[in-house]
């Protein structure tokens, strides 16, 4: 017993000493709460040279942390253990965080570079007037296919996937919104449709696709498509551009019936201790040259209109990743359908998954 007490004492003392050492170290490197900025972003989703440049220009120290799902990010911000000053969630999550009062309103007078954002991407339903968020990257949901494995066949629409020749060739992503959205879009309904009859119709349409489906997977789809395990995949445009860089036979298409338009956006969460620095950072990232450099590194589509001038022409003119305004007109952003409708989507998706060949 005495030994145990001694041990506990030693552990406590050592921990205290270590904590003290960390705080000393941080302050000696210039990390104090008044001039640090904690950024919470997706993995490998920023050119780190830009962080160095931001630190040099402003004298603010940046702490950079990453997350791998919107849900995980929100949970951590809700708990409030870390003082995140910037986070980069997707659009539906912004709607949710806004409703749960987890975001700080933006001061547009501190963001003069906001004018560079393409008008198409301003004032969208998930954040009217961009009160809380500024678009960081955007993209679409579409079909990636291996033209060589399909013998030169071209895919241009959702309807093409129901072709009987494509038996066992399709990889779907394990997401209710994406897959149900595909079913709805193929019937020319909105992917935010909540009409029960339409949803049922979409589900039966999807059931008919079952023989062509090889698997419904998560992030593994990158690896499986790259290694030619399957020839067709339902993916986000960002994933497509990454795997297309690895395998030249792959093609990406946004189906002509319409599809999803998504955004990742910069926000200032409630946990912030440094609102000024956060605004400085957002404005810095909106600078056209910076945005161009970042877009070239990440290889997603930038919403910064002026930045396109600084980027290679073949990238900017690539209709696959920078679709024309006519096409983006047809694309829809996911609306927050509410818990009940979302549950209905998931139930139907579960039933669809259980449908056997």
């Amino acid at each position: 017993m005495k030994k145990l007490v001694q041990l506990l004492l030693v552990i406590t003392i050592v921990s205290a000493l270590l904590l003290y050492a960390i705080s000393r170290l941080n302050s000696s490197q210039g990390f104090t709460s008044s001039n640090t900025l904690t950024i919470y972003n997706w993995g490998d989703y920023i050119d780190t040279d830009l962080i160095d440049r931001f630190e040099e220009e402003t004298g603010i120290k940046v702490i950079y942390e990453t997350f791998d799902s919107n849900e995980a990010m929100m949970t951590k911000i809700e708990q409030g253990g870390t003082t995140y000053d910037i986070a980069i969630p997707s659009e539906y999550m912004i709607d949710k965080m806004r409703q749960e009062d987890l975001l700080v309103p933006l001061d547009h007078s501190k963001l003069p570079n906001l004018k560079h954002i393409d008008g198409r991407f301003i004032d969208l339903p998930f954040d009217p007037g961009n009160k809380y968020s500024v678009p960081y990257f955007w993209g679409t949901v579409g079909i990636v296919y291996n033209s060589k494995m399909l013998g030169g066949k071209k895919i241009t629409s959702w309807a093409d996937l129901w072709d009987k020749d494509l038996r066992n060739e399709i990889l779907l992503t394990d997401g209710a919104r994406e897959v149900m959205g595909m079913g709805l879009n193929s019937l020319n309904y909105s992917l935010n449709d909540t009409d029960e009859a339409h949803l049922q119709e979409a589900k039966s349409k999807l059931d008919a696709l079952t023989p062509n489906i090889k698997a419904i997977v998560g992030d593994e789809s990158r690896m499986l498509l790259e290694s030619q395990e399957a020839s067709i995949g339902l993916v986000w445009s960002g994933v497509a551009s990454e795997i297309m860089a690895e395998n030249e036979d792959l093609e990406y298409v946004v189906p002509k019936e319409g599809s999803n338009l998504w955004f990742d956006n910069m926000v200032i969460p409630r946990t912030t201790k440094n609102v000024d620095a956060a605004h400085q950072f957002i404005n810095f990232m909106l600078d056209p040259e910076v945005a161009a450099q970042n877009a070239e590194y990440v290889s997603y589509s930038t919403p910064n209109k002026t930045a396109l001038k600084y980027m290679p022409k073949e990238v900017v003119r690539d209709e696959r990743f920078y679709p024309s305004p006519e096409l983006t007109e047809k694309l829809e952003v996911y609306e927050n359908l509410g818990k009940k409708n979302l549950a209905r989507y998931n139930e139907l998706f579960l039933e669809f998954k259980m449908h056997r060949k």
């Binding site: 698997a215 419904i216 997977v217 395990e229 998954k353 259980m354």
Partner: protein
């Protein structure tokens, strides 16, 4: 008196552990199962469980768990029997147990590589002239990988039971004129039935709620109750329905424990 007191003190950590990490979570699950998705108190989740979707899912979970347990037993019993006959049995046992120390996810990813279109398994099928087949994302791959993962847990209790067996009993059976098969059926198997029961419990119950493998190896072509729970908690955030399925799983597990449990206490 003093002795009693110190006994009670030593009992505290155990009671705390059970209360906090076993009883409280089960009560919480039970509590959540009575709320619908909008947070109203209702029995709608229980109604939903008795719809064809969930009943079908329950049946298929049972069927797969049954297959996995059955095949594991068929492989594990002879293996355990041979193990007891080897010279360095502890070493061999260790070699069988070591793979279970490796993370499940890593093993699953390895199998994606092995069973893939251009993987080792298909390479072998090409060489022997059968030609490449789809192995990944089928019922076969799902059951194979599950059996592979559960086998150490089946071998261990059976091995222990066989190892404790008194060899003179077999000699006696032999002397009294029993054939080898009869010795096995009437002497060895009944005496190791407890090991078999433990092994089946240890495999069947987790197999009922497998979820990672259903996506990675079966490509969501197999949906078990575990998959549904995962989806309800992480994606739909319908904690009520997820909890309801969990409640039924818990009930089913208690039933299995009761049926396969040892009822000859005190012997």
């Amino acid at each position: 008196m003093r002795n009693n007191l110190s006994k009670n003190i030593f009992f505290i950590p155990y009671v705390l552990w059970i209360a906090l990490f076993v009883i409280a979570p089960i009560l919480l699950i039970l509590y959540y199962s009575f709320f619908d998705i909008e947070g109203n108190l209702s029995l709608v989740n229980y109604q939903k469980f008795f719809t064809p979707v969930y009943l079908k899912m329950t049946l298929s979970s049972f069927w797969y768990a049954f297959l996995i347990t059955g095949i594991s037993l068929l492989v594990a019993y002879p293996t355990a029997f041979l193990l007891t006959k080897t010279k360095h049995k502890q070493l061999w046992l260790l070699l069988i147990i070591v793979p279970s120390w490796i993370n499940l996810l890593l093993k699953a990813y390895a199998f994606i590589g092995i069973f893939g279109t251009y993987g080792v398994a298909n390479g072998f099928l090409e060489v022997i002239g059968i030609g490449s087949q789809q192995i990944l994302f089928t019922d076969f791959s799902f059951i194979f990988v599950s059996v592979y993962i559960f086998i150490p847990f089946m071998i261990l209790p059976i091995f222990n039971a066989l190892d404790k067996l008194n060899p003179t009993l077999m000699d006696a059976a032999n002397d009294l004129g029993a054939s080898r098969w009869m010795t096995f059926r009437r002497v060895i198997f009944p005496l190791t039935i407890d090991g078999v029961k433990t092994g089946c419990q240890v495999v069947f119950i987790p197999a009922l709620s497998l979820f990672m493998l259903t996506r990675l190896i079966a490509g969501n072509r197999v949906i078990t109750l575990g998959t549904a729970i995962e989806q309800h908690f992480l994606v739909t955030q319908d904690w009520g329905m997820g909890s309801t399925i969990a409640v039924f799983l818990i009930i089913i597990m208690f039933l299995i424990m009761f049926v396969t449990g040892n009822r000859k206490q005190g012997v």
